[in-house]
Point group: C3
């Protein structure tokens, strides 16, 4: 299945509209090209809908939201929902400011979000209407560990039921859940948190995976997450003593570019609960 | 001639004002430094004209145009035209939305554009007032091939006559034409389309080449295109099996940084029609 | 002392709010992660204050200032000052346009700026209310050399006294001064000027160093500058003949990621005047 999901992306070259932050946007574009998709960015209200109309999927990321791009997200999202395009929402920093929490909550409520990807602090902030997010990184107290995994899985499934979206809670262990099932994914490395935008990149490729595999959103979401984590491992193995987080960023994207289905299947480490 | 054109850039360090998209802007800045020029970015209407005034050339790219930057492009462009600075227009996504098509058409009509660089879909959209652009990448049906080259050359020359600009139609074969002559350039690799912003980078260095070689816009435009394509080939030769599009991006800029005139002359593959 | 300053950054993981330009913002984020800090970017007036409130330090950079981000800088800066957060101001292009000069001067006057980092043209523009900045790079006529060092030191100390900020004048030799003392720092390489954003990156890590070492702003500022210059040297030593400015950018960030206190102390080249 993982292999077929990956191949579907490479075969169909889904065109993904991204309204995303200017910090990691270049990496999102290159990672979409790497995974076999094609990116387009348009964040002005006068431009966003027409661009959505020619795309197959939409990736919304509030990392550097502003008064101009928020209406563009809603407008593009409404049209994407009407066109039955998958929509990914990355609520960067939800819980860290009311502007971010409210915007993410509004998008989640108004639009037919297919997948919501954040760290535990961000997802909790949206679930609770409150939270204690430490900037855009997850609060250490909230880290998903072996001990808290079971309750995180339950929480994710409940929130999936409530929202109708596949819920990603990414961290040391990634939980990707719909109402009935949760993938607990062990791929990845701690050093990925030293590269800005690995979360944003995962959201971007998730949009591509969902667009190329519209009938199986949970499996497609899990495959994208395994892809990202596994490529983080493969890239880490390639690092020499002199390399740091900048070279690591490049190698992660390189691995995503070169990944084939057999490697994905062979390297996947997950359980379904 | 190619060698002299390159040396003129390195000798004069042209200062290039870029109003460009936030996706590939960092690569545009580094590629300008690599080729021997100096970049400056200013996209607010209150700032753009004064920055244009101290520069030698202007690069306009509508990749993430918005309500604030469009007036800045017109204002900077009008002043640049008055100061006889070369102006490059990169109509990213023209044909994909009416906002993009109209903005690019308006800039092309209002300003004294020196060079217009796009893929065949974008250029056709501007020539026809219509088009079927697939996002920001060229439509496969429109690809410039050996079979369609002759008619593409004729089209580019006619559009050059109509607009007064050097017309770039970049793709597998790059056509760079003024009214009388067209360079058909065979440098480049298919993998360049897996790196976001190779087109934007070419537009940026074209602005530098034009600024350093004001009397010969067609030859300067062709030299910039050959430079980009050849460095794409040299960078490709440097890739190992593990490398992907992220490393490739870096190597392309590295090669532009290290390129000397003899290598440019020796590696150039083109014909003039 | 240098070693302790570095260790304090790595031990406390300061969260730095950056309102900065979209050209080099990704490098600023990765360099903050590399040095041991954590970045967050928020540049909308409705978002900036709440983000500042959860951070430990603020980095303001006017490289692509606009009508929306300028009020966000003032709002975040006022709150940061109230919270006694260190504030770094990077007046990119001050002297190149009245908008930039006035905004930088206004921020410097209104806010309690802890450190002001620019090239000699930018700092002079702010000191004089005038200047002859060539874009965002320093004017060659103004270069800080052995011959002009003594008068540059005097100027920096006077301007530090006038503003209450640590004054950075970065170039071939970096001068970092408060009212009483000036570090003259010889680390760095000429090739760093071929990488866009090395100045922006230094400003970002300075904010982290100041936040982690609040009692010793001058020494923390000098340590950040030595860090940047030394890592430029170490990265340069790693370059092969094929490498250019793109690989150099990555290696600089890599070196900052891997730098330990002993290497910093061993490689530092400076005198205090």
């Amino acid at each position: 299945l993982l292999k077929r999901i990956l191949d579907n992306v490479r075969k169909t070259t889904p065109l993904i509209h991204n309204i995303t932050n200017y910090v990691t946007v270049n990496d999102c574009a290159n990672v979409l090209l790497a995974c076999g998709a094609s990116p387009v960015m348009a964040d002005d209200p006068d431009d966003a809908e027409e661009i959505t109309a020619i795309c197959g999927g939409l990736n919304l990321n509030i990392g550097t939201l502003n008064a101009r791009t928020i209406p563009a997200m809603f407008a593009a999202g409404r049209l994407a929902a009407k066109l039955h395009h998958p929509i990914v929402l990355d609520p960067v920093g939800a819980g860290a400011s009311s502007r971010r929490t409210e915007t993410a909550a509004g998008l989640l409520e108004t639009l037919d979000i297919t997948a919501l990807r954040g760290n535990i602090s961000e997802i909790k902030a949206l679930a609770a209407g409150s939270g204690s997010t430490k900037g855009v990184d997850a609060d250490a107290a909230d880290a998903v560990t072996e001990e808290t995994l079971s309750q995180t899985v339950d929480f994710a499934k409940r929130f999936a039921a409530e929202t109708g979206a596949v819920i990603f809670i990414t961290g040391a262990i990634d939980v990707v859940a719909d109402t009935g099932q949760a993938y607990c994914i062990y791929n990845g490395t701690p050093m990925m948190s030293k590269v800005t935008g690995t979360g944003c990149m995962l959201s971007a490729i998730t949009a591509a995976y969902l667009t190329a595999n519209p009938a199986i959103p949970l499996a497609a979401s899990a495959a994208a997450t395994i892809n990202m984590g596994l490529c983080g491992e493969l890239a880490f193995a390639r690092l020499t003593e002199k390399d740091g987080n900048a070279t690591y960023r490049n190698y992660i994207i390189d691995e995503i570019c070169n990944l084939d289905g057999d490697t994905l299947v062979g390297g996947a480490r997950y359980e379904v609960r």
